[in-house]
Symmetry: C2
DNA sequence: TTGATATCATTTGCATGCGAATGAATTTTC
DNA sequence: GAAAATTCATTCGCATGCAAATGATATCAA
Protein backbone atom coordinates (compact mmCIF):
# COMPACT_ATOMS: atom_id res chain seq x y z
CA UNK A 1 0.00 0.00 0.00
CA UNK A 2 1.41 3.42 -0.96
CA UNK A 3 1.34 6.68 0.90
CA UNK A 4 -1.25 7.93 -1.53
CA UNK A 5 -3.53 5.06 -0.59
CA UNK A 6 -3.32 5.93 3.07
CA UNK A 7 -4.06 9.54 2.34
CA UNK A 8 -7.00 8.54 0.22
CA UNK A 9 -8.35 6.33 2.98
CA UNK A 10 -8.10 9.17 5.45
CA UNK A 11 -9.94 11.49 3.12
CA UNK A 12 -12.61 8.91 2.51
CA UNK A 13 -12.93 8.26 6.21
CA UNK A 14 -13.42 11.95 6.70
CA UNK A 15 -16.08 12.17 4.03
CA UNK A 16 -18.07 9.20 5.24
CA UNK A 17 -17.66 10.38 8.80
CA UNK A 18 -21.27 11.47 8.50
CA UNK A 19 -22.06 7.95 9.66
CA UNK A 20 -24.64 8.27 12.34
CA UNK A 21 -24.88 5.68 15.08
CA UNK A 22 -28.07 6.12 17.02
CA UNK A 23 -26.91 3.98 19.93
CA UNK A 24 -24.03 6.37 20.56
CA UNK A 25 -26.12 9.53 20.79
CA UNK A 26 -26.57 10.99 24.26
CA UNK A 27 -30.25 11.48 23.72
CA UNK A 28 -30.84 7.87 22.93
CA UNK A 29 -28.78 6.49 25.80
CA UNK A 30 -30.33 9.03 28.15
CA UNK A 31 -33.77 7.81 27.16
CA UNK A 32 -32.76 4.21 27.80
CA UNK A 33 -31.18 5.00 31.15
CA UNK A 34 -34.34 6.80 32.16
CA UNK A 35 -36.46 3.86 31.05
CA UNK A 36 -34.35 1.50 33.08
CA UNK A 37 -34.71 3.63 36.17
CA UNK A 38 -38.47 3.86 35.83
CA UNK A 39 -38.60 0.10 35.49
CA UNK A 40 -36.52 -0.42 38.64
CA UNK A 41 -38.72 2.08 40.43
CA UNK A 42 -41.87 0.25 39.41
CA UNK A 43 -40.42 -3.05 40.63
CA UNK A 44 -39.93 -1.60 44.13
CA UNK A 45 -42.81 0.84 44.36
CA UNK A 46 -45.70 -0.46 42.37
CA UNK A 47 -48.52 1.80 43.38
CA UNK A 48 -46.84 5.17 42.82
CA UNK A 49 -45.02 6.61 39.81
CA UNK A 50 -41.68 8.46 40.07
CA UNK A 51 -43.33 11.85 39.45
CA UNK A 52 -45.96 11.14 42.09
CA UNK A 53 -43.31 10.13 44.57
CA UNK A 54 -41.27 13.21 43.69
CA UNK A 55 -44.25 15.40 44.51
CA UNK A 56 -44.85 13.69 47.84
CA UNK A 57 -41.15 13.71 48.77
CA UNK A 58 -40.88 17.39 47.95
CA UNK A 59 -43.97 18.27 49.95
CA UNK A 60 -42.53 16.29 52.84
CA UNK A 61 -39.37 18.34 52.49
CA UNK A 62 -40.77 21.86 52.14
CA UNK A 63 -44.24 21.61 53.59
CA UNK A 64 -47.24 23.37 52.11
CA UNK A 65 -46.65 25.19 48.82
CA UNK A 66 -48.55 26.33 45.79
CA UNK A 67 -49.08 23.90 42.98
CA UNK A 68 -47.00 26.06 40.67
CA UNK A 69 -44.14 26.38 43.11
CA UNK A 70 -44.15 22.64 43.65
CA UNK A 71 -43.94 22.18 39.91
CA UNK A 72 -40.84 24.34 39.77
CA UNK A 73 -39.24 22.37 42.60
CA UNK A 74 -39.77 19.02 40.92
CA UNK A 75 -39.21 20.19 37.33
CA UNK A 76 -42.74 19.79 36.07
CA UNK A 77 -44.71 22.25 34.00
CA UNK A 78 -48.08 23.53 35.21
CA UNK A 79 -50.16 21.19 33.07
CA UNK A 80 -48.26 18.10 34.17
CA UNK A 81 -48.16 18.94 37.85
CA UNK A 82 -51.89 19.45 37.85
CA UNK A 83 -52.52 15.92 36.66
CA UNK A 84 -50.11 14.47 39.21
CA UNK A 85 -51.66 16.42 42.09
CA UNK A 86 -55.18 15.56 40.96
CA UNK A 87 -54.38 11.86 41.18
CA UNK A 88 -52.67 12.19 44.55
CA UNK A 89 -55.67 14.11 45.83
CA UNK A 90 -58.04 11.46 44.54
CA UNK A 91 -56.10 8.96 46.64
CA UNK A 92 -56.21 11.15 49.71
CA UNK A 93 -52.44 11.66 49.86
CA UNK A 94 -52.53 15.44 49.49
CA UNK A 95 -55.09 18.12 50.19
CA UNK A 96 -55.71 21.43 48.50
CA UNK A 97 -56.75 24.84 49.75
CA UNK A 98 -56.88 28.37 48.44
CA UNK A 99 -54.27 30.88 49.53
CA UNK A 100 -55.96 33.37 51.86
CA UNK A 101 -54.33 36.46 50.43
CA UNK A 102 -53.48 35.57 46.85
CA UNK A 103 -56.60 33.85 45.59
CA UNK A 104 -54.89 32.60 42.44
CA UNK A 105 -52.72 30.20 44.38
CA UNK A 106 -53.71 26.64 45.14
CA UNK A 107 -51.92 25.38 48.23
CA UNK A 108 -50.94 21.74 48.34
CA UNK A 109 -50.03 19.84 51.48
CA UNK A 110 -49.61 16.26 52.62
CA UNK A 111 -52.44 14.54 54.43
CA UNK A 112 -51.62 12.31 57.39
CA UNK A 113 -51.82 9.33 55.04
CA UNK A 114 -49.60 11.10 52.52
CA UNK A 115 -46.97 11.78 55.14
CA UNK A 116 -47.06 8.19 56.36
CA UNK A 117 -46.74 6.99 52.79
CA UNK A 118 -43.65 9.10 51.98
CA UNK A 119 -41.93 8.16 55.19
CA UNK A 120 -42.57 4.52 54.49
CA UNK A 121 -41.28 4.81 50.92
CA UNK A 122 -38.14 6.87 51.39
CA UNK A 123 -36.03 3.84 52.38
CA UNK A 124 -37.27 2.03 49.29
CA UNK A 125 -36.40 5.05 47.18
CA UNK A 126 -32.87 4.85 48.45
CA UNK A 127 -32.72 1.20 47.44
CA UNK A 128 -33.95 2.19 44.01
CA UNK A 129 -31.17 4.72 43.64
CA UNK A 130 -28.64 2.10 44.67
CA UNK A 131 -29.95 -0.46 42.26
CA UNK A 132 -30.04 2.01 39.42
CA UNK A 133 -26.39 2.84 40.01
CA UNK A 134 -25.40 -0.78 40.66
CA UNK A 135 -23.62 -1.25 37.30
CA UNK A 136 -21.08 1.38 38.38
CA UNK A 137 -18.31 1.17 40.95
CA UNK A 138 -18.49 3.53 43.94
CA UNK A 139 -15.86 5.76 42.38
CA UNK A 140 -17.69 5.80 39.06
CA UNK A 141 -20.93 6.69 40.82
CA UNK A 142 -19.42 9.86 42.19
CA UNK A 143 -18.04 10.87 38.81
CA UNK A 144 -21.23 10.01 37.01
CA UNK A 145 -23.53 11.92 39.34
CA UNK A 146 -21.30 14.96 39.15
CA UNK A 147 -21.25 14.98 35.35
CA UNK A 148 -24.95 14.15 35.03
CA UNK A 149 -25.87 17.01 37.34
CA UNK A 150 -23.58 19.31 35.38
CA UNK A 151 -25.38 18.37 32.21
CA UNK A 152 -28.94 18.47 33.50
CA UNK B 1 -18.43 20.28 74.12
CA UNK B 2 -17.31 16.88 75.42
CA UNK B 3 -16.27 13.78 73.57
CA UNK B 4 -19.56 12.20 74.51
CA UNK B 5 -21.36 15.01 72.76
CA UNK B 6 -19.47 14.40 69.54
CA UNK B 7 -20.18 10.74 69.72
CA UNK B 8 -23.83 11.45 70.32
CA UNK B 9 -23.91 13.75 67.32
CA UNK B 10 -22.41 11.08 65.14
CA UNK B 11 -24.95 8.57 66.27
CA UNK B 12 -27.75 11.02 65.70
CA UNK B 13 -26.40 11.88 62.30
CA UNK B 14 -26.41 8.20 61.51
CA UNK B 15 -29.97 7.83 62.65
CA UNK B 16 -31.30 10.85 60.84
CA UNK B 17 -29.26 9.88 57.81
CA UNK B 18 -32.60 8.97 56.37
CA UNK B 19 -32.63 12.53 55.08
CA UNK B 20 -33.74 12.28 51.53
CA UNK B 21 -32.74 14.87 48.98
CA UNK B 22 -34.75 14.46 45.84
CA UNK B 23 -32.42 16.60 43.75
CA UNK B 24 -29.57 14.21 44.44
CA UNK B 25 -31.32 11.06 43.29
CA UNK B 26 -30.21 9.61 39.96
CA UNK B 27 -33.75 9.13 38.82
CA UNK B 28 -34.64 12.74 39.31
CA UNK B 29 -31.52 14.10 37.63
CA UNK B 30 -31.88 11.59 34.83
CA UNK B 31 -35.40 12.81 34.22
CA UNK B 32 -34.21 16.42 34.10
CA UNK B 33 -31.31 15.60 31.78
CA UNK B 34 -33.70 13.83 29.48
CA UNK B 35 -36.09 16.77 29.56
CA UNK B 36 -33.28 19.12 28.66
CA UNK B 37 -32.26 17.00 25.72
CA UNK B 38 -35.79 16.78 24.37
CA UNK B 39 -36.04 20.54 24.62
CA UNK B 40 -32.78 21.04 22.70
CA UNK B 41 -33.98 18.54 20.13
CA UNK B 42 -37.24 20.40 19.66
CA UNK B 43 -35.38 23.67 19.19
CA UNK B 44 -33.42 22.22 16.26
CA UNK B 45 -35.91 19.78 14.79
CA UNK B 46 -39.37 21.10 15.31
CA UNK B 47 -41.48 18.84 13.17
CA UNK B 48 -40.23 15.47 14.42
CA UNK B 49 -39.91 14.04 17.94
CA UNK B 50 -36.82 12.19 19.17
CA UNK B 51 -38.58 8.79 19.00
CA UNK B 52 -39.79 9.50 15.48
CA UNK B 53 -36.30 10.50 14.42
CA UNK B 54 -34.86 7.41 16.10
CA UNK B 55 -37.20 5.22 14.06
CA UNK B 56 -36.26 6.92 10.79
CA UNK B 57 -32.53 6.88 11.58
CA UNK B 58 -32.65 3.20 12.43
CA UNK B 59 -34.55 2.33 9.28
CA UNK B 60 -31.98 4.29 7.32
CA UNK B 61 -29.30 2.24 9.02
CA UNK B 62 -30.72 -1.27 8.73
CA UNK B 63 -33.22 -1.00 5.88
CA UNK B 64 -36.57 -2.75 5.90
CA UNK B 65 -37.49 -4.57 9.15
CA UNK B 66 -40.54 -5.69 11.02
CA UNK B 67 -42.25 -3.26 13.32
CA UNK B 68 -41.39 -5.41 16.31
CA UNK B 69 -37.74 -5.75 15.38
CA UNK B 70 -37.52 -2.01 14.87
CA UNK B 71 -38.98 -1.54 18.33
CA UNK B 72 -36.25 -3.71 19.82
CA UNK B 73 -33.56 -1.75 17.98
CA UNK B 74 -34.78 1.60 19.24
CA UNK B 75 -35.84 0.43 22.71
CA UNK B 76 -39.59 0.85 22.31
CA UNK B 77 -42.26 -1.61 23.30
CA UNK B 78 -44.78 -2.87 20.76
CA UNK B 79 -47.56 -0.52 21.78
CA UNK B 80 -45.35 2.56 21.61
CA UNK B 81 -43.65 1.73 18.33
CA UNK B 82 -47.00 1.22 16.70
CA UNK B 83 -48.08 4.77 17.49
CA UNK B 84 -44.80 6.19 16.25
CA UNK B 85 -44.93 4.24 12.99
CA UNK B 86 -48.59 5.11 12.45
CA UNK B 87 -47.75 8.80 12.60
CA UNK B 88 -44.73 8.46 10.33
CA UNK B 89 -46.87 6.54 7.86
CA UNK B 90 -49.57 9.21 7.96
CA UNK B 91 -46.89 11.70 6.92
CA UNK B 92 -45.63 9.51 4.11
CA UNK B 93 -42.20 8.98 5.63
CA UNK B 94 -42.44 5.20 5.95
CA UNK B 95 -44.45 2.52 4.17
CA UNK B 96 -45.76 -0.79 5.45
CA UNK B 97 -46.17 -4.19 3.87
CA UNK B 98 -46.88 -7.73 5.01
CA UNK B 99 -44.05 -10.24 5.17
CA UNK B 100 -44.56 -12.74 2.33
CA UNK B 101 -43.70 -15.83 4.33
CA UNK B 102 -44.50 -14.95 7.94
CA UNK B 103 -47.84 -13.21 7.70
CA UNK B 104 -47.71 -11.99 11.26
CA UNK B 105 -44.90 -9.55 10.49
CA UNK B 106 -45.46 -6.00 9.36
CA UNK B 107 -42.50 -4.75 7.38
CA UNK B 108 -41.55 -1.11 7.69
CA UNK B 109 -39.34 0.78 5.24
CA UNK B 110 -38.45 4.36 4.43
CA UNK B 111 -40.17 6.09 1.54
CA UNK B 112 -38.13 8.30 -0.76
CA UNK B 113 -39.34 11.27 1.28
CA UNK B 114 -38.45 9.51 4.49
CA UNK B 115 -34.94 8.80 3.30
CA UNK B 116 -34.47 12.39 2.15
CA UNK B 117 -35.75 13.61 5.52
CA UNK B 118 -33.35 11.49 7.59
CA UNK B 119 -30.38 12.42 5.47
CA UNK B 120 -31.25 16.05 5.80
CA UNK B 121 -31.67 15.79 9.58
CA UNK B 122 -28.64 13.71 10.54
CA UNK B 123 -26.28 16.73 10.56
CA UNK B 124 -28.77 18.55 12.80
CA UNK B 125 -28.93 15.54 15.09
CA UNK B 126 -25.18 15.73 15.50
CA UNK B 127 -25.50 19.39 16.45
CA UNK B 128 -28.12 18.42 19.00
CA UNK B 129 -25.79 15.88 20.56
CA UNK B 130 -23.05 18.48 20.74
CA UNK B 131 -25.30 21.06 22.33
CA UNK B 132 -26.63 18.58 24.86
CA UNK B 133 -23.10 17.77 25.92
CA UNK B 134 -21.91 21.37 25.77
CA UNK B 135 -21.80 21.83 29.58
CA UNK B 136 -19.05 19.20 29.73
CA UNK B 137 -15.43 19.41 28.64
CA UNK B 138 -14.27 17.04 25.87
CA UNK B 139 -12.61 14.81 28.43
CA UNK B 140 -15.72 14.77 30.61
CA UNK B 141 -17.87 13.90 27.61
CA UNK B 142 -15.90 10.71 27.06
CA UNK B 143 -16.15 9.71 30.69
CA UNK B 144 -19.81 10.58 30.90
CA UNK B 145 -20.87 8.68 27.80
CA UNK B 146 -18.95 5.63 28.93
CA UNK B 147 -20.58 5.61 32.36
CA UNK B 148 -24.03 6.46 31.04
CA UNK B 149 -23.85 3.60 28.56
CA UNK B 150 -22.65 1.27 31.29
CA UNK B 151 -25.66 2.22 33.38
CA UNK B 152 -28.32 2.15 30.63
C1' DT C 1 -56.64 55.05 39.60
C1' DT C 2 -56.54 52.66 35.56
C1' DG C 3 -54.41 50.33 31.86
C1' DA C 4 -50.67 47.18 30.66
C1' DT C 5 -48.15 43.17 32.41
C1' DA C 6 -47.29 39.34 34.81
C1' DT C 7 -48.53 35.29 37.44
C1' DC C 8 -51.31 31.11 38.78
C1' DA C 9 -54.16 27.72 37.33
C1' DT C 10 -57.02 25.14 33.98
C1' DT C 11 -58.13 23.02 29.68
C1' DT C 12 -57.32 20.99 25.16
C1' DG C 13 -54.69 18.51 21.91
C1' DC C 14 -51.01 15.72 20.74
C1' DA C 15 -47.13 12.37 21.57
C1' DT C 16 -44.71 9.09 24.20
C1' DG C 17 -44.48 4.95 27.41
C1' DC C 18 -46.03 0.78 29.57
C1' DG C 19 -49.05 -3.16 31.47
C1' DA C 20 -52.48 -6.24 30.30
C1' DA C 21 -55.68 -8.52 27.33
C1' DT C 22 -56.69 -10.29 22.70
C1' DG C 23 -56.26 -12.37 18.17
C1' DA C 24 -53.68 -14.31 14.39
C1' DA C 25 -49.93 -16.91 12.71
C1' DT C 26 -45.87 -19.80 13.60
C1' DT C 27 -42.96 -22.98 16.00
C1' DT C 28 -42.19 -26.48 19.30
C1' DT C 29 -43.20 -30.71 21.47
C1' DC C 30 -44.92 -34.84 22.34
C1' DG D 1 -50.01 -34.21 13.07
C1' DA D 2 -52.50 -32.13 17.05
C1' DA D 3 -51.89 -29.63 21.33
C1' DA D 4 -49.09 -26.31 23.72
C1' DA D 5 -46.18 -22.61 23.79
C1' DT D 6 -44.27 -18.48 21.21
C1' DT D 7 -44.20 -14.62 18.55
C1' DC D 8 -46.09 -10.43 16.14
C1' DA D 9 -49.27 -7.07 16.19
C1' DT D 10 -53.29 -4.48 17.93
C1' DT D 11 -56.14 -2.35 21.35
C1' DC D 12 -57.40 -0.32 25.81
C1' DG D 13 -56.52 2.22 29.87
C1' DC D 14 -53.72 5.04 32.48
C1' DA D 15 -49.87 8.33 33.40
C1' DT D 16 -46.52 11.61 32.10
C1' DG D 17 -44.92 15.74 29.29
C1' DC D 18 -45.37 19.92 26.71
C1' DA D 19 -47.36 23.82 23.71
C1' DA D 20 -50.90 26.96 23.30
C1' DA D 21 -55.10 29.23 24.54
C1' DT D 22 -58.04 31.02 28.28
C1' DG D 23 -59.62 33.06 32.59
C1' DA D 24 -58.93 34.96 37.09
C1' DT D 25 -56.21 37.60 40.07
C1' DA D 26 -52.17 40.57 41.24
C1' DT D 27 -48.73 43.81 40.40
C1' DC D 28 -46.59 47.54 37.99
C1' DA D 29 -46.50 52.03 35.78
C1' DA D 30 -47.91 56.04 33.76
Amino acid sequence: MTGEDNLLKLVEADETEGEYHLQEQVGFILRKAHQRHVSIFAAHIGDLTPPQFAALAKLHDVGETSQNQLGTLIAMDAATVKGVIDRLKARGLVELSRHEVDKRRLLVSLTVEGRAMVERLIPLAQKITEETLAPLTPKEIGTFLKLLAKMA
